[in-house]
């Protein structure tokens, strides 16, 4: 070791990094060298000070920023989240809206709690304060294992700085709303949820006076790790019998019609439960389905479950089950799972995704068309019999049916969610309501398309299958698989997937054509003569390739512009033949002034390299085409 330690060695020793010399040797040196010891102490002072800074710079539980204001202010100056209040140490912000925050916090004893904070933009009225007290009183009387227990409630600050707090037992788990993001509920799960929620509702309705939650929805139902469902957010709850004229609370879509005019009774929460179950089954917010002509009836589920749901969400309260107890009895008697269990439920026949979505996605698909044409040329080289029988794809995978030309589809009207404390808005903007699973499925589908266009058919099959794993009823993914298998000369699989496509999308514009293809494949599989290659190229097919390949000629114009600029703006007429293998022959320049020019030679060479789809029969020609290169 040198006479003294370097700055880096001292610093690394203090911060606990690798020093580069044996630690005992370093310690021995520090014990004897006053100078190095003093430097090390100075470095330690800085390190100690940094710990103090770190302690003073608390991390905001809301925005996770280091707060530069230590103990004086208990609220983050960036997002406004509180750090600690009345002995509750805030750990994180669970949800927040403009008028409330829900924190995860701990008591001084280390017990995890949920702390609901109500904030106000103006001085809260006496009515608001009374309502808060009433909610606290109501919560205090509840004693059910699937309802979080109230721990305490209190007020902080005054006037416009008033903050009202409710501390409740923390329930670990995920809301059903959150689960919808990456989980598809089957009938069995939905029925189990119904059973558990009904048990909670039966308890609430058995109280005197009965308690109505008034805001049952997926966001307020938490699935705990043990599978138990907990009902949370009693901010809308009332402990009255049937009442009229109350303030409108609840969430549009989950509220029965009579709740809109403030009328609630024992069937109110049952209707909301029914709407919730339908949402879970269909993955669509109920306001889209519980319309005058209820679309949800097309949901693919057992008849018994459908009947049960029909009674839950009956328009007329008199047609619903009388109360939660009666509903539980009916549910038990129905014995939904003695028979068929549907693993996944979707709305039948109705377009799986809103058309506007497809319009957006269609733009992406349309952008792929030029690439598709290139591929058309590429794949046509194979010239297989199977390829010839493709449903006029020309090697192009079409965007999902109905994409092109619907960009002017009307948006669904926006509908504000009226939920209280809603950090989980189910707004009804259809154009933006992309289901993450739908998007994931589309992404896989799109990747499949790209793979097809690039001739990576095995990859495309894998991607289309991935799309189908996410959404087994994704018709266009079946169509893509049909094409991919056809390219791989697997008519059996191709037919199977085309068949599925037609089955799922019987009303598609190309359905008849695909049906014909399926028939062709079936016949081929049964030993009938296989599909024959195209007998010749049509004029439009030739035109497509020419138009798409014109850029090659423009390059000639650019390259030769220095020499032949004067002529380049003129028309240049070219003649050629197409051989049955798709290659060109005898390309000649017919316009005299270009015959012996560099530009003419370039054009001739370019066209000689073009490839058209192969066909059976005589060479096609002569083809004469007037190109204008400007």
């Amino acid at each position: 070791m040198s006479e003294h330690l370097s700055e880096e060695q001292i610093r690394d020793f203090v911060i606990g990094a690798e020093v580069g010399v044996p630690i005992e040797q370093l310690r021995a040196h520090l014990a004897t060298c006053r100078e190095c010891s003093a430097r090390m102490q100075a470095e330690a002072q800085l390190e100690h000070a940094l710990w103090e800074v770190r302690q003073a710079a608390a991390v905001c539980p809301g925005c996770q920023r280091l707060s530069i204001d230590g103990s004086a202010e208990q609220r983050c100056d960036h997002c406004g989240a509180v750090r600690s209040v009345r002995g509750f140490a805030i750990e994180s912000v669970l949800t927040q809206t403009s008028h409330s925050r829900v924190y995860r916090a701990r008591t001084a004893d280390g017990v995890a709690v949920v702390l609901k904070e109500l904030v106000f933009a103006q001085v809260p009225s006496l009515t608001v304060l009374e309502a808060f007290e009433r909610e606290a009183k109501l919560l205090r009387q509840l004693d059910h294992p699937q309802i979080p227990r109230l721990i305490s409630h209190f007020q902080e600050g005054e006037g416009v700085h008033t903050r009202l707090y409710l501390a409740q037992e923390y329930v670990a788990g995920q809301s059903l709303q959150a689960l919808l993001d990456d989980h598809r509920f089957d009938e069995q799960e939905v029925t189990e949820i119904a059973r558990q929620v009904l048990a909670i509702l039966a308890y609430l309705q058995s109280l005197s006076p009965p308690v109505f939650h008034r805001d049952i929805k997926p966001a307020n139902l938490l699935r705990q790790p043990d599978g138990k469902i907990a009902l949370v957010d009693f901010g809308s709850a009332r402990e009255l019998g049937a009442t009229q004229g109350a303030t409108l609370v609840g969430t549009i879509g989950y509220m029965p019609p009579e709740q809109l005019v403030g009328t609630i009774d024992k069937t109110t929460d049952l209707y909301a439960l029914g709407a919730t179950l339908i949402h879970l089954l269909t993955r669509r917010p109920p306001w889209q389905l519980l319309t005058a002509e209820p679309q949800w009836r097309r949901v693919e589920c057992s008849r018994r479950l459908r009947s049960f749901l029909e009674r839950l969400v009956a328009h007329n309260p008199g047609d619903r089950f009388a109360d939660a107890e009666a509903t539980m009895t009916a549910l038990s008697a129905t014995d939904l799972f003695s028979g068929d269990v549907r693993p996944v439920s979707f709305v039948k026949a109705a377009p799986r995704w809103p058309k506007l979505k497809w319009a957006v996605l269609g733009l992406a698909a349309a952008a792929m068309v030029p690439l598709a044409w290139q591929t058309a040329r590429m794949v046509s080289d194979a010239g297989t019999a199977v390829e010839a029988a493709l449903p006029e794809t020309d090697g192009l995978v079409r965007p999902p049916s109905g994409v092109i030309g619907i960009a002017d589809q009307k948006r669904a009207p926006d509908e504000d969610s009226a939920q209280e404390g809603a950090a989980d808005d189910d707004t009804g903007d259809e154009a933006l309501a992309f289901d993450p699973l739908d998007v994931a499925a589309f992404e896989a589908y799109q990747a499949g398309n790209v793979a097809i266009l690039q001739g990576r058919f095995e990859d495309s099959i894998r991607e289309f299958k991935r799309a189908l794993d996410i959404d087994p009823r994704f018709a266009d993914a079946h169509r893509g698989l049909g094409i991919a298998y056809a390219k791989l000369i697997n008519p059996k699989q191709a037919a199977r997937h085309y068949e599925m496509y037609v089955k799922l999308r019987g009303d598609a514009v190309d359905a008849d054509r695909v049906r014909q293809i399926v028939t062709n494949y079936r016949e081929a599989n049964q030993g009938r003569p296989p599909m024959v290659a195209r007998s010749a190229l049509s004029k439009s097919e030739i035109l497509k390739i020419v138009v798409l390949s014109r850029d090659d000629l423009k390059k000639c114009r650019t390259e030769q512009s220095g020499r032949d600029q004067a002529q380049a703006r003129d028309e240049i007429k070219v003649q050629w033949w197409i051989r049955s293998d798709g290659t060109t022959r005898d390309v000649s320049i017919l316009t005299d002034e270009f015959k012996d020019t560099a530009l003419g030679a370039c054009v001739r060479d370019a066209i000689s390299g073009w490839r058209f789809p192969s066909f059976e029969g005589e060479d096609i020609g002569p083809i004469r085409f007037p190109f204008v290169l400007d």
Binding site: Q41, L50, W51
Partner: protein
């Protein structure tokens, strides 16, 4: 003396405990920080080690005797250790009329009851916080994790932030350089 306290601590830890508290883990986690805080007071490295062991010893004995209502680490052990250290330094001054460590050492004086010193400490802290606020997002993230409670090793910080260990150290050194002027009171 250092080995005496260390030996006593080891013997204590070897004794079967009635509680399930993992003292080994606690010491592994906080010992470096404890020693740093003692070095910052002006103790030599041997003194710091010795005082740290004594502090752990006392805390563990009190905890096992059921004398501690709550156990907040590392705060409790640091307070205990600094109390022992200040006693040691006072004894040293009495004996030699000079601090035992380097004479020009000026710790941040968090234990100082002199209002003026407290004010200076507070101002330095505020200044350091302002410097921190001016650091980049990644610098603050590294700082936040390296000095988290419990502290994270540089490798773990690197893993969490998706950086290389080398980069974490580089950022840390940059932050330290910026903070140095603030906490040492230079303009």
């Amino acid at each position: 003396m250092a080995s005496e306290a260390r030996g006593a601590l080891l013997r204590l830890l070897e004794r079967p405990a009635t509680d399930a508290f993992d003292w080994d883990a606690a010491i592994r986690c906080h010992h470096r920080r404890l020693c740093v805080s003692l070095l910052a007071l002006g103790l030599t490295i041997d003194q710091a080690e010795d005082v740290a062991h004594q502090a752990w010893l006392r805390i563990i004995e009190r905890q096992r005797a059921g004398l501690l209502r709550e156990l907040r680490l590392p705060g409790l052990v640091i307070v205990q250790a600094r109390f022992l250290a200040l006693n040691l330094l006072r004894r040293g001054r009495r004996d030699t009329a000079l601090p035992e460590g380097p004479g020009d050492s000026q710790p941040l004086a968090v234990d100082d009851v002199d209002p003026e010193n407290r004010l200076i400490s507070r101002e330095r802290l505020d200044s350091a916080l302002r410097v921190l606020a001016g650091c980049s997002e990644s610098a603050r993230a590294v700082f936040q994790l390296v000095y988290s409670d419990p502290p994270l090793g540089h490798a773990e910080v690197a893993q969490r932030l998706g950086l290389s260990v080398q980069r974490v150290r580089q950022i840390l050194c940059e932050v330290r350089a910026k903070m140095r002027s603030a906490v040492e009171g230079s303009p």
